[in-house]
């Protein structure tokens, strides 16, 4: 007598909804165990990790500050993954978005006035798209794997930044530190605090979150209500059906990569023109990779991405907090992220399969031929 996985007649709708919740609960339970194993009072550590970071205005603004780029990139990736275009290089596309925005800032912030920031936003998305188009070309025209190409290009992008901040774009007054000049006010997103939102005084939350807030319904609309969004989904669900219907596989790859690249590029702008205020070589938040988990956690649904982004941002913050308060190792954030992803993938199984007891008289041996 044991247990077995039996295939369901139809994928369970309830489970599609419950799977992420199950994964979260399991992660939290294992988390309690980890805290205990590390010699902490599990509930106190739990509090420090999940509740304390967002218990004041400062905490909430930090949460949103991290969630915003995660959400933005996650939206782009969700659309791309739905089309089976596995863009793993969003981090690099984000870097290039930051690079292009920086290029505008340091060269034109003194002459373009109020037009600087909008130009940077545009440049950022162009930068991300340009970087993504390298991968798109390799996949669409040369049939290379976009997973490998986009991932490797991330390291190239990182080196591009190093070259620029050690070289031509280095701040001449920076004592040879690898960073650019600080951006002026007209090249930076205004803080909410400075716009009269008093309860956000002293926080770093800035207007770039508006880009994300606009992107959420836009992404949903594109995926669910437009024909190109439909074509991308079909290409991911059943590529042979998409070919039969006449949808261009090439166009789908380009569209998916460019959308992902643009979103990542915008996230890059919101970082360099936001809390950082410059380009430097320590900027490597890994948002492009964490956004992969965000998109997966949201089951590639544009409306689930913001919720998933908030959760992942909380994991970042929690890790920082317990580092400071409890001297727990920095890796703890990534442990939680990894656990979450693993449990999520495991819970996915329950959408298509059911757990049940093996009945003693029954042993289904795999049939050796197709049914009549």
């Amino acid at each position: 007598m044991g247990f077995e996985l039996a295939r369901r007649a139809e994928p369970s709708r309830l489970m599609k909804f419950l799977a992420p919740l199950q994964a979260i609960v399991l992660t939290l339970l294992v988390g309690l165990g980890i805290f205990a194993a590390l010699g902490q009072d599990p509930w106190h550590a739990f509090w420090q990790f999940f509740i304390a970071p967002v218990s004041d205005a400062h905490g909430i603004s930090e949460l949103l500050l991290k969630a915003s780029p995660l959400c933005l990139i996650g939206l782009g990736l969700a659309i791309s993954y739905r089309a089976n275009v596995w863009n793993i290089g969003a981090e690099g596309q984000m870097y290039m978005g930051g690079v292009f925005a920086t290029g505008i800032a340091i060269h034109f912030q003194d002459s373009w006035g109020a037009a600087t920031l909008p130009a940077m936003i545009l440049a950022g998305s162009v930068g991300g798209m340009l970087w993504a188009s390298l991968t798109a070309f390799c996949r669409a025209q040369l049939h290379a794997s976009e997973i490998l190409v986009s991932l490797m290009l991330t390291y190239v992008a990182s080196l591009v930044i190093k070259y620029l901040v050690f070289g031509p774009w280095q701040d001449p007054h920076a004592n040879n530190f690898p960073l650019t000049v600080n951006f002026e006010d007209n090249a930076t997103f205004p803080l909410f605090a400075s716009l009269g939102w008093d309860w956000l005084q002293g926080t770093r939350l800035n207007l770039s979150i508006v880009i994300t807030l606009i992107a959420i319904p836009l992404a949903w609309f594109f995926a669910e209500r437009t024909f190109p969004g439909f074509q991308l989904s079909v290409g991911g669900l059943a590529p042979a059906a998409a070919r039969y219907a006449g949808y261009s596989d090439r166009k789908a790859v380009w569209a998916a990569m460019l959308i992902g690249g643009a979103a990542a590029g915008l996230a890059g702008v919101s970082e360099v023109a936001g809390p950082i205020g410059q380009l430097n070589d320590r900027w490597a938040p890994q948002y492009g990779f964490t956004a992969i988990i965000v998109a997966t956690l949201a089951r590639l649904h544009p409306l689930g991405v913001p919720l998933a982004a908030l959760l992942m941002a909380l994991l970042y913050l929690g890790g920082e907090t317990v580092q400071i308060e409890l001297q727990l190792p920095q890796a703890i954030s990534f442990v939680f992220q990894g656990l979450l992803l693993m449990f999520l993938l495991g819970s996915e199984v329950l959408v298509r399969y059911r757990v049940r007891r093996t009945r003693p008289a029954e042993k289904v041996v795999k049939a050796v031929e197709a049914p009549a």
Binding site: A241, Y244, A245, G246, V364, V365, A367, E369
Partner: protein
């Protein structure tokens, strides 16, 4: 003649039941098989025949019921146990490795290791004895489908089976090969082997079998001697009501709607089929059928017609315009509709609803405006297809994967026909489809042609082609025969052509030259 009951009872099934989730595949089935008889198990697609055979062969365990072998109750846990008792099965879809030789494939199935040379001799001996010529050292990928089936049968015969189960054996054979197969089976039966012949082809069962057990929706609805029944009566037993007939309309031929001129397509990989100098014409208002066994270039031809594989512009013509180098979307825009050979994963996306699947190919019918999906129009279109084509489903929002084969095929055919095309190409219109849906689809095809559409049907069901087509050509080994009027030929001649014995088609000058 009552020698039937003199023969010893080999296999007796009593009250066999098997359910899969909510579906009762088998519901209290009884079956008796005696040594030396050829026993038909008759039922339409989805009736439960396959499941029953899996129970006998040990691939599936029944939820209830008793199996008796030679009078003693047994439990058949796995196919190895079945084979040990002398039960052998020739499957509908062969399990052979194409890149190995015949003797290597046979060796894989045998329980004990045997030197290949000795095995090759045994193969030659058995194949000669039963009239199934097979060269043991030939690579399987070089064999025709009929020859591959012979390998499967020889593989079973080498184990001296007491009971041989044949699952839909003739769907891949030319008429001549079918005759040869029947000879072999009769010889085996005369030697005392029991044969279970699973099929839905009434004419063959009446020719070959001594007894028939008829299954409908998992239950046995009758036992009979098929030689004493008419095809009509057997059909009624099989489907539970009178068999529908298709009505032919008189033919009015118009201009050439679809033309293929000298199409050459290189083989796609070592196991593909190259198309050589394919030429034919389909006129508006006629149904041209392309007959032939699967694997002779049908898939390649269909891809070249749809546009998923591109060729030279002058090789394919739609309504007088060269389209050979255009993709599927452009050809659809020019009035081409297409029903693919495979339903799930190609013709329809199983996870999407019927409304979304309507949008899949009918998007040019007012469902998309400036890039936005018009959900009302798509829903109305889907509802129309469901209504007009008698699609049994839980509504237009039901996922395509929840429909039965027949209903999904009706939906797909309806979706393509309702686009009001000028040319329609249909691959395997009624493969795996129940009888009622088959009749509806065939009638709609005939009606479509009567309405002036040029219809091309590619089918491996020769009976279907003869029933609904005006003219027929045969595709064999990547070459096409001349097209003949259906009334001017018969299944004998077509059978010969399927084996490749047809004259060169006269060179057809394309419309550009005309």
């Amino acid at each position: 003649m009552n020698n039937m009951t003199d023969r010893p009872l080999l296999l007796r099934l009593t009250g066999i039941a098997k359910s899969y989730a909510a579906l009762r595949a088998l519901d209290g089935v009884d079956l008796d098989v005696r040594a030396g008889e050829i026993h038909a198990v008759l039922g339409e697609n989805g009736a439960g025949k396959s499941t029953l055979m899996k129970v006998i062969y040990g691939a599936v365990q029944p939820d209830a019921g008793r199996i008796e072998w030679e009078g003693a109750p047994v439990s058949i846990d796995a196919p190895t146990a079945a084979r040990a008792r002398g039960i052998a099965m020739v499957f509908q879809h062969f399990a052979l490795f194409e890149s190995s030789t015949v003797v290597e494939n046979v060796a894989l199935a045998l329980p004990e290791r045997e030197p290949l040379k000795k095995l090759a001799e045994r193969i030659t001996e058995v194949s000669a004895r039963y009239g199934l010529p097979v060269n043991p050292n030939q690579y399987v990928h070089r064999l025709s489908v009929g020859e591959r089936q012979r390998v499967e049968i020889v593989r079973c015969l080498l184990q001296a089976p007491r009971l041989l189960i044949m699952d839909e054996p003739t769907s891949v054979l030319t008429p001549q090969a079918v005759d040869q197969l029947f000879e072999t089976l009769r010889r085996l039966a005369a030697e005392g082997t029991a044969i279970i012949y699973v099929s839905h082809k009434l004419e063959e069962i009446r020719r070959l079998c001594d007894r028939a057990t008829i299954i409908r929706q998992g239950k046995v609805v009758g036992h009979t001697d098929p030689r004493r029944e008419t095809e009509g009566r057997l059909a009624e037993l099989m489907i539970g009501r009178t068999f529908p007939h298709t009505e032919r309309r008189s033919k009015h031929e118009g201009d050439v709607a679809l033309e293929v001129a000298g199409l050459d397509v290189p083989a796609d990989g070592p196991f593909g089929t190259a198309l050589k100098a394919i030429s034919f014409r389909v006129h508006a208002g006629e149904v041209l059928g392309i007959a032939g066994i699967s694997g002779n270039g049908q898939a390649e031809l269909l891809a070249a017609l749809l546009g998923t594989s591109r060729s030279q512009a002058q090789a394919v013509w739609l309504n007088g315009s060269p389209v050979g180098n255009l993709g599927a979307a452009r050809r659809r825009a020019m009035g081409l509709a297409f029903v693919p050979e495979e339903r799930l994963g190609v013709g329809a996306v199983p996870e999407l609803s019927l409304v979304q699947n309507a949008l899949l190919t009918a998007y040019q019918k007012g469902m998309v405006r400036r890039g936005l999906i018009q959900r009302g129009a798509a829903g109305a279109y889907a509802e129309r297809c469901i209504r007009e084509y008698d699609v049994r489903c839980a509504g237009p929002g039901a996922p395509a994967g929840s429909l039965s084969g027949g209903n999904l095929q009706k939906f797909i055919v309806g979706r393509e026909i309702e686009q009001k095309p000028r040319v329609i190409v249909i691959g395997q219109p009624t493969w795996g489809v129940d009888v009622a849906a088959t009749a509806l689809i065939r009638q709609r095809i005939i009606d479509l042609a009567a309405g002036g559409v040029g219809v091309l049907v590619v089918s491996e069901d020769l009976g279907e082609i003869l029933e609904i087509c005006d003219r027929v050509a045969v595709l064999a080994g990547g070459r096409i025969s001349p097209a003949r009027d259906v009334h001017a030929t018969n299944s004998e001649e077509i059978g010969r052509w399927m084996a490749g014995g047809f004259p060169e088609a006269p060179a057809v000058s394309s419309q550009a030259a005309a």
